[in-house]
């Protein structure tokens, strides 16, 4: 295979350096009126197998990245990031109380919850919008996703420890008393039976 001819090289360089797609006429004008049809065809065929293609769109020619390599233009780089404390709390509240509105989450947390926090949880794929609460203002309500269960190794939300188990583990007590409390408070059977969903019904309705 012999190298490209002079005209072909000129067309190639012209299109490479052009800031906008060029029509065959414009290229021809640029190159002193030469007939560039054959050169364009030759180039298109040459580049067909390469990482860059010469394409014609609406009578104008330009180089573009081969479609199968388009993913190279926008690479995704994954970075492992730990969920913030606030986001973890919101996630836990959604998991324990779902479906739950943002106002309800705030009432349970006792703190305002930034919109971005729920966005992060939705981006992570653990929380989604499941509808609207039929109350004035029709707030959207959130629930966890199957991915949430998978990520945390839960067969179902019923696997989440109940309030009394949390208390037994010292997770409900102020940090300094946690040890003593965990050792002193026996868990009773009736308390353990507390139900997942309605456990905090009185707190949920804001």
């Amino acid at each position: 295979m012999s190298g490209p001819g002079e005209l072909t090289r000129a067309v190639e360089a012209t299109l490479f350096a052009a800031e906008e797609p060029m029509s065959a006429e414009a290229i021809s004008t640029h190159l002193g009126g030469a007939d560039v049809g054959d050169a364009l065809a030759e180039l298109a065929s040459h580049y067909a197998e390469r990482g860059v293609h010469l394409v014609e769109r609406g009578k104008r020619w330009h180089f573009e990245t081969a479609p199968d390599l388009a993913h190279l233009l926008r690479r995704e780089k994954e970075e492992v990031r730990r969920l913030s404390r606030a986001a973890t709390e919101v996630l836990a509240i959604v998991a324990y109380h779902e479906p739950v509105s943002r106002a309800e989450i705030e009432s349970i947390r006792g703190v305002q919850t930034a919109k971005g926090t729920l966005d992060v949880l939705m981006e992570a794929g653990w929380v989604r919008i499941v509808g609207r609460r039929e109350v004035p203002g029709r707030p959207v309500i959130y629930a966890t996703t199957p991915d949430f269960l998978t990520h945390f190794g839960l067969a179902s939300r019923r696997d989440l420890p109940g309030i009394d188990e949390l208390r037994a583990a010292g997770l409900l007590d102020p940090v300094e008393d946690a040890l003593a409390a965990a050792m002193e408070t026996p868990v009773t059977a009736s308390e353990e039976a507390a139900d997942d969903d309605d456990r905090d019904a009185d707190e949920t309705s804001v």
Binding site: H62, E76, E89, L166, A169, L171
Partner: protein, 266 residues
């Protein structure tokens, strides 16, 4: 000895040199002479090149003569702009005489060394001038060769891979519940000394002595520490009140020092 005649450093910005020609729009002939040279060394280099010999073989004497002739020929030198050209001329005149006159063994540096130094400097300037010309003559990006006119650009989108574990989740929930659980605050009954009792106590004790006494001496001895704090506060306010009424005077030598109290006989 040469120091006295060696030219001073130029202190003119280069732009002014272009001004030699441009500022004198009406009298170009008069100012033309120094147009286009970036200082005396540049003019010397140009003259040296007109000798059409290798810079290593130029005749310094000839060069000096050419330079002096040139400067003399430039009739209407704008003195303030051409000062360094004239200083160079003076220095070259000195160099010429030193080269021609019988050798002065004491001269340091010798005229030969000065001439050589000038020659070396001309060579170096010439080398850089040629290098600059060759550099500018290369195929330059954006003038002779071109980068891609419309590159798509490469972008790296960072995607967060969120991490959280089961324990962090349930612990967070526990913390929320613990934080928001209703809490009953019990306020314990505390022993206090009221202002009234402090007033009567302090005023009665003031009657006993006319000497300065420290405020803490007015406090009930052997009191519970919590009562003692309350008594101190009440007694202090009582002392201020008594001072206001003119029944006592207060003295404190330094900041946070002992507070002294003394009764005033009416």
């Amino acid at each position: 000895m040469s120091d006295g005649v060696e030219p001073l450093p130029l202190d003119l910005p280069e732009d002014d040199w272009q001004g030699v020609a441009t500022a004198a729009a009406g009298d170009e002939a008069l100012y033309l002479e120094l147009d286009g040279w970036e200082g005396p060394l540049d003019l010397l280099l140009d003259l040296a090149r007109r000798q059409k010999v290798d810079l290593r073989k130029i005749s310094i004497l000839e060069l000096v003569d050419q330079y002096l002739t040139y400067i003399e020929g430039a009739e209407a030198l704008r003195l303030e702009l051409a000062a360094d050209y004239l200083v160079m001329a003076a220095w070259l005149a000195y160099l010429k005489s030193a080269l021609l006159l019988p050798r002065d063994e004491q001269a340091d540096p010798s005229p030969e060394e000065l001439a050589l130094r000038l020659q070396l400097r001309l060579q170096r300037l010439a080398a850089m001038r040629d290098a600059a010309a060759r550099l500018m003559g290369r195929d330059r990006l954006g003038r002779d060769v071109f980068a891609r006119g419309a590159p798509e650009g490469l972008r790296v989108d960072r995607k967060a891979l969120w991490q959280c574990d089961w324990f962090a989740l349930v612990q967070a929930y526990g913390q929320v519940k613990a934080r928001t659980a209703p809490v009953v605050h019990m306020v314990r009954d505390r022993m206090v000394m009221t202002l009234d009792s402090a007033l009567s106590r302090v005023s009665s004790m003031l009657g006993v002595s006319l000497d300065w006494m420290e405020l803490k001496d007015f406090l009930p001895p052997h009191a519970d520490p919590r009562l003692r704090k309350s008594a101190l506060a009440s007694s202090f306010v009582a002392a201020l009140e008594l001072a206001r009424l003119g029944k006592a005077e207060l003295d404190q030598q330094d900041t946070f020092g002992p507070l002294l109290l003394r009764g005033i006989k009416a």
